[in-house]
Amino acid sequence: MSNTKLARRAGTGRTGDQVFSGAALGAGVLIVAILFAVAMFLVIQALPTFTAPRSESTGGEGFFAYIFPIVIGTLIAAMIALIIATPIGVAVALFISHYAPRSLAKGMGYVVDLLAAIPSVIYGAWGASFLASSLKGPYQWLAENLGWIPIFAGPASGTGKTILTAGIVLAVMVLPIIASLTREIFLQAPMLHQEAALALGATRWEMIRMAVLPFARGGIISAVMLGLGRALGETLAVALVLSSGPLIASWIRSGNQTIAAEIALNFPEAFGLRMHELIAAGLVLFLITLLVNVVARWIISRHKEFSGAN
């Protein structure tokens, strides 16, 4: 009697084990399935774009003529963001890891992380109302004095809502990502190397250059790539800040467009072929960011044994 009771109890326990491990495995499979489904559904919904006659696409020149300028626009905006955010982000990380007083460093790191907590729509509103109008003057100056450089060709935008403003807003949003990832790596640079450098009479900067930066190179690159992924996919900041238009070289005139903003601005009213076209644009964006992220993760995994960015 007691034996069967024990056996039954043991039996229920085993069922619980099976159910639980099955559920855990199922959740893992679900994640793989979700990512696969994201790609599949985007492809399925995008397909009509490629089979439709060229004349019915936006612009009437076929999908690739439509997507090419906004891909370039996306890349320009992301590039501006990285040019600004990379040096500042790395310097902020260095400040928190190696320059700030120990007791304040944690709080300062938290302050920088607050930048990442602010929703993108608020950055967009800030960029459109405050930043754009305060950059009108500088753009005017750039157009007058550096107008011979194609990217600063005038006449400057009267509203300040240009790709450069959008790039600056993106830089602000990417900065905390780069700063927090590189900070983690700087903190893991071997302390013995740093102390040895200082003991040999190196100044603080020489110590950082010799013992910290070489160690962190891979981590910095991957942090920048992850920042790039964010900048490429960021939607609202660009949609609100940029007054879009056809692809132009100048950064300080209205014009250019990014994929994400194009989708956000047009999707709510889109139907039929236009909707499929926008989903196809989303697929292109997905593939670009996927590529960037995979490369970044690959760099991180190569440096895994001595880096903290994983």
Binding site: F41, A125, G233
Partner: protein
């Protein structure tokens, strides 16, 4: 004895050094010179501070280059650049928060802003409030309800999936190939642009329910695509740091694995898991792009996530800015947008601080 002292002063370690008070002197000089220059072209506090900082850095580096040599000067230059970068990085944070506070407080304090929706508020009311100088009508209640419901459903989907996945990764997989695939895909998922997540949910429901399906639930699915990887990452980290001795002690008592996980591992890690989930909620509650393409726009209260368009705080801000209710008088719409932005920031900050509070409350009891 006296000669010994002078010998020591000339030693290589102490010669050619600037006195300790140099930075203060340079700072004072920089502020005065900057003020003088500003007086010539017109005073401006921001430009004055900027100019003082630049002069201070330049003065420090030059004096060091003259007295202490090239290496020390480069070190000072690097320090100035690093500290300067940090201050530059703080500028947008201060500026954003200041802009939102200044523009948002009047709207947030308007009676009825939190308690009423935009139902029935049209350009007529906005024009009237501008011409008669009466308080702005309309509020954010419908968007608040929408945001809370959509985020709630996203949490209900993401937490079980994310937590179970992290349990699989830590407790069951033993580092096999499949777990490496999952970890990699979770990392890749973290990088999915939010608008693509929105498009995925739209495309999915277009196939299931027919094209043009826009409900709160579609938005919740889109948000959970963004939320799941965050939950997996944070829970995985937390489960990993549960000491193995606890598991082994439990197994030694004959407790089954699933009960060990439920009764020992998760309660030990719950503080970290809960704060990770709270941070994930804080991340998705501000997402706008996926909601734009999945939930539509609504001006009245909708509490059913499975039917009808639904408003949310971020899309409310977006539509109020992009398409003001009264095109001829955009100010009331701008006021509502900024007030909603302030509310959203407060919500996100509250969630961020709440995460720390949650971590402390649920922390495993140590000692007695």
């Amino acid at each position: 004895m006296a000669t010994l002292m002078t010998e020591r002063k000339r030693s290589a370690l102490t010669q050619n050094r600037l006195p300790k008070y140099t930075p203060y002197v340079v700072a004072g000089a920089a502020i005065v010179v900057a003020a003088a220059l500003m007086a010539l072209v017109g005073f401006n506090v921001f430009a004055w501070a900027l100019l003082s900082a630049i002069l201070f850095a330049a003065g420090n580096v030059t004096s060091s280059a003259v007295v202490e040599g090239r290496r020390k000067a480069i070190d000072k230059l690097a320090t100035s650049l690093v500290v300067g970068s940090f201050l530059v990085a703080l500028l947008p944070l201060v500026s954003v928060i200041w802009t939102v506070l200044v523009n948002g407080i009047p709207g947030l304090l308007t009676p009825g802003f939190l308690g009423s929706s935009m139902n029935g508020v049209t350009g007529v009311q906005d024009n009237a409030s501008v011409t008669n100088n009466t308080p702005v009508m309309g509020g954010v209640y419908h968007a608040l309800v929408g945001s809370v419901l959509i985020t709630l459903w996203a949490t209900l989907i993401s937490v079980p999936v994310g937590l179970l996945t992290s349990i699989y990764l830590v407790e069951y997989s033993a580092g096999n190939k499949f777990s490496k695939v999952i970890t990699f895909l979770v990392d890749v998922m973290t990088g999915i642009p939010s608008i693509v997540a929105g498009l995925f949910a739209t495309a999915l429901f277009a196939l299931i329910m027919g094209p043009g399906t826009k409900t709160g639930f579609v938005a919740a699915v889109a948000l959970s695509v963004l939320m799941i990887p965050v939950v997996v990452r944070s829970s995985e980290e937390m489960l990993k740091i549960v000491p193995n001795e606890l598991r082994e002690a439990s197994y030694a008592l004959g407790v089954r694995k699933w009960r060990t996980i439920l009764k020992i591992v998760i309660p030990t890690a719950i503080s970290g898991i809960a704060s990770g989930v709270t941070l994930a909620i804080a991340r998705v509650i501000g997402e706008t792009a996926p909601l734009l393409v999945t939930a539509g726009f609504a001006s009245s209260i909708n509490t059913n996530v499975f039917a009808g368009w639904m408003a949310s705080l971020p899309t409310f801000i977006y539509t109020q800015i992009m398409t003001p209710t009264s095109p001829s008088n955009p100010d009331p719409s701008a006021q509502r947008a900024w007030a909603a932005a302030l509310l959203l920031i407060l919500l996100v900050m509250a969630l961020n601080f709440g995460a720390r509070l949650v971590a402390r409350i649920f922390a495993p009891k140590t000692g007695r």
